[in-house]
Amino acid sequence: MAMHTIRVTVNGTPYEKQVESRLLLVHFLRDQLRLTGTHIGCDTTHCGACTVIVDGEPVKSCTVLAVQADGSEVRTVEGLEQGGKLHPIQEGFWQEHGLQCGYCTPGMMMTGVALLGRNPNPSEPEIRQAISGNLCRCTGYVNIVKSIQYAAARLR
Protein backbone atom coordinates (compact mmCIF):
# COMPACT_ATOMS: atom_id res chain seq x y z
CA MET A 1 0.00 0.00 0.00
CA ALA A 2 1.67 3.19 -1.17
CA MET A 3 1.63 5.95 1.41
CA HIS A 4 2.55 9.58 0.88
CA THR A 5 3.07 12.53 3.17
CA ILE A 6 1.05 15.52 2.01
CA ARG A 7 0.93 19.10 3.21
CA VAL A 8 -2.39 20.80 2.64
CA THR A 9 -3.81 24.02 4.03
CA VAL A 10 -7.52 23.68 4.72
CA ASN A 11 -9.49 26.77 5.67
CA GLY A 12 -6.26 28.46 6.70
CA THR A 13 -4.98 25.62 8.89
CA PRO A 14 -1.89 23.76 7.63
CA TYR A 15 -1.95 19.97 7.93
CA GLU A 16 0.71 17.35 7.33
CA LYS A 17 -0.81 13.88 6.94
CA GLN A 18 -0.04 10.40 5.69
CA VAL A 19 -2.40 9.31 2.93
CA GLU A 20 -2.77 6.27 0.73
CA SER A 21 -2.29 6.92 -3.04
CA ARG A 22 -5.88 6.07 -3.80
CA LEU A 23 -7.45 8.22 -1.08
CA LEU A 24 -9.86 10.73 -2.59
CA LEU A 25 -9.75 14.34 -1.46
CA VAL A 26 -13.34 14.15 -0.20
CA HIS A 27 -12.50 11.18 2.04
CA PHE A 28 -9.38 12.96 3.27
CA LEU A 29 -11.47 15.97 4.28
CA ARG A 30 -14.33 14.00 5.81
CA ASP A 31 -12.58 11.02 7.39
CA GLN A 32 -9.09 12.24 8.24
CA LEU A 33 -9.81 15.89 9.05
CA ARG A 34 -13.39 15.20 10.23
CA LEU A 35 -14.68 18.07 8.10
CA THR A 36 -17.98 16.42 7.25
CA GLY A 37 -19.63 19.55 5.86
CA THR A 38 -18.46 18.49 2.39
CA HIS A 39 -20.99 15.92 1.22
CA ILE A 40 -20.65 12.85 -0.95
CA GLY A 41 -23.61 12.69 -3.29
CA CYS A 42 -23.39 10.67 -6.48
CA ASP A 43 -19.69 9.78 -6.12
CA THR A 44 -19.52 9.70 -9.95
CA THR A 45 -18.51 13.30 -10.84
CA HIS A 46 -22.04 14.39 -11.65
CA CYS A 47 -23.77 16.05 -8.71
CA GLY A 48 -21.29 18.55 -7.24
CA ALA A 49 -22.30 17.97 -3.59
CA CYS A 50 -18.59 17.43 -2.85
CA THR A 51 -17.47 20.74 -4.39
CA VAL A 52 -14.57 22.42 -2.58
CA ILE A 53 -12.27 25.22 -3.69
CA VAL A 54 -8.71 24.13 -4.49
CA ASP A 55 -6.29 26.99 -5.16
CA GLY A 56 -9.17 29.29 -6.04
CA GLU A 57 -11.04 26.92 -8.38
CA PRO A 58 -14.17 24.97 -7.46
CA VAL A 59 -13.67 21.25 -8.14
CA LYS A 60 -15.44 17.97 -7.41
CA SER A 61 -13.45 16.52 -4.51
CA CYS A 62 -14.70 12.99 -5.26
CA THR A 63 -12.65 13.18 -8.46
CA VAL A 64 -9.37 14.49 -7.09
CA LEU A 65 -6.82 12.39 -5.22
CA ALA A 66 -5.68 13.70 -1.85
CA VAL A 67 -2.07 13.38 -3.07
CA GLN A 68 -2.89 15.65 -6.01
CA ALA A 69 -3.82 18.35 -3.48
CA ASP A 70 -0.35 18.21 -1.88
CA GLY A 71 0.85 21.80 -1.50
CA SER A 72 -2.59 23.24 -2.21
CA GLU A 73 -4.93 25.53 -0.40
CA VAL A 74 -8.38 24.07 0.09
CA ARG A 75 -11.53 25.87 1.21
CA THR A 76 -14.54 23.95 2.45
CA VAL A 77 -17.92 25.03 3.75
CA GLU A 78 -16.52 24.98 7.31
CA GLY A 79 -14.25 27.87 6.36
CA LEU A 80 -17.06 30.23 5.39
CA GLU A 81 -18.31 31.37 8.79
CA GLN A 82 -15.81 33.58 10.62
CA GLY A 83 -15.96 34.33 14.33
CA GLY A 84 -19.61 33.37 14.64
CA LYS A 85 -20.62 35.52 11.70
CA LEU A 86 -22.09 33.83 8.64
CA HIS A 87 -20.46 34.41 5.27
CA PRO A 88 -22.71 36.48 2.95
CA ILE A 89 -23.33 33.36 0.83
CA GLN A 90 -24.60 31.50 3.91
CA GLU A 91 -26.73 34.48 4.86
CA GLY A 92 -28.07 34.50 1.28
CA PHE A 93 -29.11 30.85 1.37
CA TRP A 94 -30.82 31.50 4.70
CA GLN A 95 -32.58 34.73 3.71
CA GLU A 96 -33.63 33.60 0.24
CA HIS A 97 -34.63 30.06 1.22
CA GLY A 98 -31.91 28.63 -1.03
CA LEU A 99 -32.20 25.14 0.41
CA GLN A 100 -34.72 22.56 1.41
CA CYS A 101 -33.04 19.25 2.27
CA GLY A 102 -29.61 20.89 2.38
CA TYR A 103 -27.68 18.07 0.78
CA CYS A 104 -26.36 20.04 -2.21
CA THR A 105 -25.94 23.25 -0.20
CA PRO A 106 -22.24 23.04 0.80
CA GLY A 107 -21.27 22.41 -2.81
CA MET A 108 -23.61 25.10 -4.13
CA MET A 109 -22.17 27.62 -1.70
CA MET A 110 -18.55 26.82 -2.58
CA THR A 111 -19.33 27.14 -6.30
CA GLY A 112 -21.12 30.42 -5.52
CA VAL A 113 -18.18 31.77 -3.50
CA ALA A 114 -15.72 30.87 -6.27
CA LEU A 115 -17.96 32.51 -8.89
CA LEU A 116 -18.21 35.74 -6.89
CA GLY A 117 -14.44 35.73 -6.42
CA ARG A 118 -14.00 35.75 -10.18
CA ASN A 119 -17.07 37.80 -11.11
CA PRO A 120 -18.49 40.04 -8.35
CA ASN A 121 -21.52 41.03 -10.40
CA PRO A 122 -22.73 37.96 -12.29
CA SER A 123 -25.88 38.00 -14.40
CA GLU A 124 -28.54 35.39 -13.82
CA PRO A 125 -27.41 33.33 -16.85
CA GLU A 126 -23.82 33.51 -15.56
CA ILE A 127 -24.93 32.20 -12.16
CA ARG A 128 -26.96 29.42 -13.77
CA GLN A 129 -24.02 28.48 -15.97
CA ALA A 130 -21.63 28.45 -13.00
CA ILE A 131 -23.85 26.12 -10.94
CA SER A 132 -24.67 23.84 -13.89
CA GLY A 133 -22.38 21.17 -12.41
CA ASN A 134 -24.20 21.25 -9.06
CA LEU A 135 -27.47 19.35 -8.90
CA CYS A 136 -30.33 20.25 -6.58
CA ARG A 137 -33.40 18.04 -6.46
CA CYS A 138 -35.51 20.23 -4.15
CA THR A 139 -35.49 23.91 -4.97
CA GLY A 140 -35.80 24.12 -8.74
CA TYR A 141 -32.75 26.45 -8.51
CA VAL A 142 -34.76 29.68 -8.44
CA ASN A 143 -33.98 30.44 -4.80
CA ILE A 144 -30.39 29.26 -5.18
CA VAL A 145 -29.88 31.87 -7.88
CA LYS A 146 -31.48 34.48 -5.60
CA SER A 147 -29.22 33.40 -2.73
CA ILE A 148 -26.09 33.94 -4.83
CA GLN A 149 -27.45 37.30 -6.03
CA TYR A 150 -28.04 38.24 -2.39
CA ALA A 151 -24.44 37.36 -1.54
CA ALA A 152 -23.18 39.28 -4.56
CA ALA A 153 -25.02 42.40 -3.40
CA ARG A 154 -23.70 42.01 0.14
CA LEU A 155 -20.11 41.52 -1.02
CA ARG A 156 -20.09 44.53 -3.35
Binding site: S21, T44, P58, V59, V64, V67, Q68, S132, N134
Partner: protein, 290 residues
Protein backbone atom coordinates in the same frame (compact mmCIF):
# COMPACT_ATOMS: atom_id res chain seq x y z
CA UNK B 1 -16.35 4.20 -4.40
CA UNK B 2 -12.66 3.63 -3.87
CA UNK B 3 -10.19 2.67 -6.59
CA UNK B 4 -8.16 -0.51 -6.32
CA UNK B 5 -4.72 0.22 -4.84
CA UNK B 6 -2.12 1.79 -7.09
CA UNK B 7 1.16 3.58 -6.69
CA UNK B 8 1.28 7.29 -7.39
CA UNK B 9 4.20 9.21 -8.89
CA UNK B 10 4.52 12.96 -9.21
CA UNK B 11 7.50 13.63 -11.49
CA UNK B 12 8.58 17.23 -11.96
CA UNK B 13 10.22 16.83 -15.37
CA UNK B 14 9.09 15.21 -18.60
CA UNK B 15 12.15 12.93 -18.74
CA UNK B 16 11.42 11.67 -15.24
CA UNK B 17 7.81 11.00 -16.25
CA UNK B 18 8.89 9.12 -19.38
CA UNK B 19 11.37 7.04 -17.36
CA UNK B 20 8.53 6.07 -15.00
CA UNK B 21 6.32 5.11 -17.96
CA UNK B 22 9.15 2.97 -19.35
CA UNK B 23 9.81 1.31 -16.02
CA UNK B 24 6.19 0.38 -15.40
CA UNK B 25 5.10 -0.36 -18.99
CA UNK B 26 1.46 -1.24 -19.43
CA UNK B 27 0.98 -1.09 -15.66
CA UNK B 28 1.27 2.69 -15.84
CA UNK B 29 -1.30 5.34 -16.78
CA UNK B 30 -0.70 9.05 -17.26
CA UNK B 31 -2.80 11.15 -14.89
CA UNK B 32 -3.55 14.61 -16.28
CA UNK B 33 -6.77 16.25 -15.05
CA UNK B 34 -8.07 12.86 -13.98
CA UNK B 35 -11.69 13.62 -14.82
CA UNK B 36 -12.07 10.50 -16.99
CA UNK B 37 -9.37 8.30 -15.45
CA UNK B 38 -10.37 8.65 -11.79
CA UNK B 39 -14.06 7.79 -12.39
CA UNK B 40 -12.94 4.71 -14.37
CA UNK B 41 -10.64 3.63 -11.54
CA UNK B 42 -13.36 4.30 -8.95
CA UNK B 43 -15.90 2.27 -10.91
CA UNK B 44 -13.13 -0.33 -11.35
CA UNK B 45 -13.86 -0.43 -15.06
CA UNK B 46 -10.19 0.35 -15.48
CA UNK B 47 -7.15 -0.50 -13.40
CA UNK B 48 -3.60 0.82 -13.18
CA UNK B 49 -0.72 -0.29 -10.99
CA UNK B 50 0.98 3.08 -11.31
CA UNK B 51 -0.35 6.57 -11.92
CA UNK B 52 2.15 9.02 -13.34
CA UNK B 53 0.76 12.46 -12.51
CA UNK B 54 2.01 15.05 -15.02
CA UNK B 55 0.37 17.84 -13.00
CA UNK B 56 3.63 18.96 -11.42
CA UNK B 57 5.64 19.25 -14.63
CA UNK B 58 5.99 22.94 -15.49
CA UNK B 59 5.56 24.28 -19.00
CA UNK B 60 2.69 22.13 -20.26
CA UNK B 61 -0.06 24.74 -19.90
CA UNK B 62 -0.19 27.44 -22.57
CA UNK B 63 -2.20 28.77 -25.50
CA UNK B 64 -0.21 30.74 -28.07
CA UNK B 65 0.17 31.41 -31.77
CA UNK B 66 3.64 30.66 -33.09
CA UNK B 67 5.23 29.49 -36.37
CA UNK B 68 1.89 29.35 -38.18
CA UNK B 69 0.17 27.28 -35.50
CA UNK B 70 -2.08 27.76 -32.55
CA UNK B 71 -0.16 25.76 -29.94
CA UNK B 72 -1.92 24.43 -26.88
CA UNK B 73 0.00 22.72 -24.09
CA UNK B 74 -1.27 19.20 -23.43
CA UNK B 75 -2.05 19.89 -19.81
CA UNK B 76 -4.01 23.09 -20.50
CA UNK B 77 -7.25 22.93 -18.61
CA UNK B 78 -10.55 23.09 -20.44
CA UNK B 79 -11.56 26.11 -18.34
CA UNK B 80 -8.49 27.95 -19.69
CA UNK B 81 -9.42 27.03 -23.26
CA UNK B 82 -12.96 28.25 -22.56
CA UNK B 83 -11.79 31.59 -21.13
CA UNK B 84 -8.91 32.25 -23.54
CA UNK B 85 -9.39 35.52 -25.45
CA UNK B 86 -7.38 34.34 -28.45
CA UNK B 87 -9.59 31.24 -28.73
CA UNK B 88 -12.81 33.20 -28.26
CA UNK B 89 -11.89 35.71 -30.95
CA UNK B 90 -10.01 33.58 -33.50
CA UNK B 91 -11.00 29.93 -32.90
CA UNK B 92 -14.71 29.97 -32.00
CA UNK B 93 -14.97 26.25 -32.83
CA UNK B 94 -12.64 25.51 -29.90
CA UNK B 95 -14.61 27.82 -27.63
CA UNK B 96 -17.85 26.10 -28.72
CA UNK B 97 -16.25 22.77 -27.83
CA UNK B 98 -14.64 23.60 -24.49
CA UNK B 99 -17.79 25.17 -23.08
CA UNK B 100 -19.92 22.06 -23.60
CA UNK B 101 -17.48 19.54 -22.12
CA UNK B 102 -18.90 18.02 -18.93
CA UNK B 103 -19.63 20.92 -16.53
CA UNK B 104 -17.73 23.98 -15.25
CA UNK B 105 -16.37 22.17 -12.17
CA UNK B 106 -15.02 19.28 -14.24
CA UNK B 107 -13.52 21.75 -16.73
CA UNK B 108 -11.50 23.30 -13.90
CA UNK B 109 -9.53 20.03 -13.72
CA UNK B 110 -10.00 18.37 -17.12
CA UNK B 111 -7.28 18.96 -19.72
CA UNK B 112 -7.37 19.19 -23.50
CA UNK B 113 -4.56 16.64 -23.86
CA UNK B 114 -6.44 14.23 -21.65
CA UNK B 115 -9.62 14.72 -23.65
CA UNK B 116 -7.73 13.59 -26.79
CA UNK B 117 -5.43 10.93 -25.31
CA UNK B 118 -8.30 9.20 -23.50
CA UNK B 119 -9.69 8.60 -27.02
CA UNK B 120 -13.27 8.18 -25.93
CA UNK B 121 -15.24 8.58 -29.19
CA UNK B 122 -17.85 10.45 -27.13
CA UNK B 123 -15.31 13.08 -26.04
CA UNK B 124 -15.72 16.44 -27.71
CA UNK B 125 -12.26 17.67 -28.75
CA UNK B 126 -11.45 14.77 -31.10
CA UNK B 127 -14.12 15.76 -33.65
CA UNK B 128 -13.06 19.39 -33.44
CA UNK B 129 -9.40 18.56 -33.97
CA UNK B 130 -10.29 16.34 -36.93
CA UNK B 131 -12.23 19.24 -38.46
CA UNK B 132 -9.33 21.63 -37.84
CA UNK B 133 -6.71 19.26 -39.24
CA UNK B 134 -4.66 19.51 -36.05
CA UNK B 135 -1.59 17.51 -35.13
CA UNK B 136 -0.34 16.42 -31.74
CA UNK B 137 3.16 16.23 -30.34
CA UNK B 138 4.08 13.03 -28.58
CA UNK B 139 7.09 13.19 -26.30
CA UNK B 140 8.98 10.02 -25.46
CA UNK B 141 12.46 8.76 -24.70
CA UNK B 142 13.65 9.55 -28.23
CA UNK B 143 12.31 13.09 -28.15
CA UNK B 144 9.31 14.59 -29.90
CA UNK B 145 7.33 13.29 -32.84
CA UNK B 146 4.34 14.77 -34.60
CA UNK B 147 1.20 12.73 -35.22
CA UNK B 148 -1.48 14.06 -37.59
CA UNK B 149 -4.80 13.88 -35.76
CA UNK B 150 -6.23 11.74 -38.56
CA UNK B 151 -3.79 8.99 -37.58
CA UNK B 152 -4.06 9.48 -33.84
CA UNK B 153 -7.24 7.57 -32.96
CA UNK B 154 -6.58 3.90 -33.65
CA UNK B 155 -9.56 2.31 -31.90
CA UNK B 156 -11.92 2.54 -28.97
CA UNK B 157 -9.92 4.25 -26.18
CA UNK B 158 -6.75 3.61 -28.23
CA UNK B 159 -4.31 6.05 -29.77
CA UNK B 160 -1.06 6.05 -31.72
CA UNK B 161 0.79 7.05 -28.55
CA UNK B 162 3.36 4.48 -27.40
CA UNK B 163 3.16 3.34 -23.77
CA UNK B 164 6.07 5.62 -22.86
CA UNK B 165 4.87 8.71 -24.75
CA UNK B 166 3.03 11.73 -23.41
CA UNK B 167 0.83 14.05 -25.46
CA UNK B 168 2.59 17.34 -24.78
CA UNK B 169 1.18 19.72 -27.40
CA UNK B 170 -1.69 20.19 -29.82
CA UNK B 171 -1.02 22.26 -32.94
CA UNK B 172 -3.77 23.78 -35.02
CA UNK B 173 -2.69 25.37 -38.32
CA UNK B 174 -3.66 29.05 -38.17
CA UNK B 175 -6.64 29.22 -40.55
CA UNK B 176 -6.32 31.51 -43.58
CA UNK B 177 -8.68 34.50 -43.99
CA UNK B 178 -12.35 33.68 -44.71
CA UNK B 179 -12.28 30.69 -42.37
CA UNK B 180 -14.83 29.77 -39.77
CA UNK B 181 -15.72 26.83 -37.61
CA UNK B 182 -18.39 25.63 -35.22
CA UNK B 183 -19.15 22.73 -32.90
CA UNK B 184 -22.75 21.78 -32.22
CA UNK B 185 -23.65 19.20 -29.58
CA UNK B 186 -26.88 17.51 -28.58
CA UNK B 187 -26.85 16.37 -24.95
CA UNK B 188 -29.63 15.25 -22.65
CA UNK B 189 -28.45 17.58 -19.89
CA UNK B 190 -25.36 19.52 -18.83
CA UNK B 191 -22.53 17.13 -18.08
CA UNK B 192 -23.75 14.32 -20.28
CA UNK B 193 -21.80 12.83 -23.13
CA UNK B 194 -23.05 13.78 -26.57
CA UNK B 195 -26.03 11.95 -28.02
CA UNK B 196 -24.47 13.26 -31.22
CA UNK B 197 -22.28 16.24 -32.11
CA UNK B 198 -20.63 17.69 -35.18
CA UNK B 199 -17.63 19.92 -35.79
CA UNK B 200 -17.16 21.86 -39.02
CA UNK B 201 -14.30 24.06 -40.18
CA UNK B 202 -14.62 25.86 -43.51
CA UNK B 203 -12.35 28.10 -45.57
CA UNK B 204 -13.92 30.04 -48.44
CA UNK B 205 -12.11 31.23 -51.56
CA UNK B 206 -12.37 34.80 -52.85
CA UNK B 207 -15.07 33.60 -55.27
CA UNK B 208 -17.16 32.35 -52.33
CA UNK B 209 -16.57 28.68 -53.09
CA UNK B 210 -15.42 26.22 -50.43
CA UNK B 211 -11.64 25.94 -50.52
CA UNK B 212 -11.19 23.67 -47.50
CA UNK B 213 -13.73 21.72 -45.44
CA UNK B 214 -13.17 19.73 -42.27
CA UNK B 215 -15.98 17.75 -40.64
CA UNK B 216 -15.71 15.63 -37.49
CA UNK B 217 -18.39 13.64 -35.68
CA UNK B 218 -18.61 12.81 -31.97
CA UNK B 219 -20.19 9.64 -30.57
CA UNK B 220 -20.69 8.28 -34.07
CA UNK B 221 -18.61 5.11 -34.00
CA UNK B 222 -15.81 3.24 -32.23
CA UNK B 223 -13.46 6.15 -32.99
CA UNK B 224 -14.09 9.82 -33.67
CA UNK B 225 -15.25 10.04 -37.28
CA UNK B 226 -13.76 12.26 -39.99
CA UNK B 227 -16.46 12.65 -42.62
CA UNK B 228 -14.11 12.67 -45.61
CA UNK B 229 -16.74 12.13 -48.32
CA UNK B 230 -18.77 15.06 -47.07
CA UNK B 231 -15.59 17.18 -46.93
CA UNK B 232 -14.66 16.24 -50.50
CA UNK B 233 -18.18 16.91 -51.77
CA UNK B 234 -18.08 20.52 -50.54
CA UNK B 235 -14.82 21.45 -52.29
CA UNK B 236 -15.20 24.03 -55.06
CA UNK B 237 -18.93 24.32 -54.33
CA UNK B 238 -20.95 27.37 -53.41
CA UNK B 239 -21.97 26.62 -49.83
CA UNK B 240 -25.69 27.04 -50.36
CA UNK B 241 -28.51 25.21 -48.58
CA UNK B 242 -28.53 22.35 -51.09
CA UNK B 243 -24.77 21.77 -50.77
CA UNK B 244 -24.98 21.85 -46.97
CA UNK B 245 -27.88 19.37 -47.00
CA UNK B 246 -25.98 16.94 -49.25
CA UNK B 247 -22.78 17.23 -47.17
CA UNK B 248 -24.80 16.58 -44.01
CA UNK B 249 -26.36 13.53 -45.63
CA UNK B 250 -22.91 12.19 -46.59
CA UNK B 251 -21.57 12.84 -43.07
CA UNK B 252 -24.48 10.95 -41.49
CA UNK B 253 -23.81 8.06 -43.88
CA UNK B 254 -20.27 7.87 -42.45
CA UNK B 255 -21.63 7.61 -38.90
CA UNK B 256 -21.84 4.19 -37.29
CA UNK B 257 -23.31 4.94 -33.88
CA UNK B 258 -24.40 2.31 -31.36
CA UNK B 259 -27.76 2.27 -29.61
CA UNK B 260 -27.84 3.13 -25.91
CA UNK B 261 -30.02 5.07 -23.48
CA UNK B 262 -29.35 8.20 -25.51
CA UNK B 263 -31.08 6.83 -28.57
CA UNK B 264 -31.33 4.27 -31.33
CA UNK B 265 -28.87 3.92 -34.19
CA UNK B 266 -31.37 5.50 -36.57
CA UNK B 267 -32.05 8.46 -34.27
CA UNK B 268 -28.37 9.14 -33.68
CA UNK B 269 -27.55 8.97 -37.39
CA UNK B 270 -30.38 11.41 -38.09
CA UNK B 271 -29.06 13.71 -35.37
CA UNK B 272 -25.58 13.49 -36.91
CA UNK B 273 -27.13 14.75 -40.15
CA UNK B 274 -29.04 17.60 -38.51
CA UNK B 275 -26.11 18.70 -36.37
CA UNK B 276 -23.65 18.55 -39.28
CA UNK B 277 -25.94 20.85 -41.26
CA UNK B 278 -26.15 23.26 -38.31
CA UNK B 279 -22.39 23.20 -37.72
CA UNK B 280 -21.71 23.80 -41.43
CA UNK B 281 -24.20 26.67 -41.57
CA UNK B 282 -22.61 28.36 -38.56
CA UNK B 283 -19.08 27.71 -39.81
CA UNK B 284 -19.90 29.26 -43.20
CA UNK B 285 -21.50 32.26 -41.48
CA UNK B 286 -18.39 32.73 -39.35
CA UNK B 287 -16.23 32.44 -42.44
CA UNK B 288 -18.15 35.44 -43.76
CA UNK B 289 -20.02 33.38 -46.33
CA UNK B 290 -23.49 34.68 -45.41
Amino acid sequence: MIPAPFDYHAPTTLSEAIALLQRHGDQAKVLSGGQSLLPLLKLRVGAAGHLVDIGRIPGLEYIKEEDGFLKIGGRTRESEVERSEIIKSKYPILHDTARVIADPLVRNRATIGGNLAHADPANDHPATMLALGAEVTATGAKGHRTIPIGQFFTGLFSTALAADEILTEIRVPIPPPRSGGAYVKLERKVGDFATAAAAAQITLGTNGEVERAGIGLTAAGPTPIKATEAERFLLKKKPDAAAIAEAARLAAAAAAPTADRRGSVQYKREMARVLTARALTKAIERAGGR
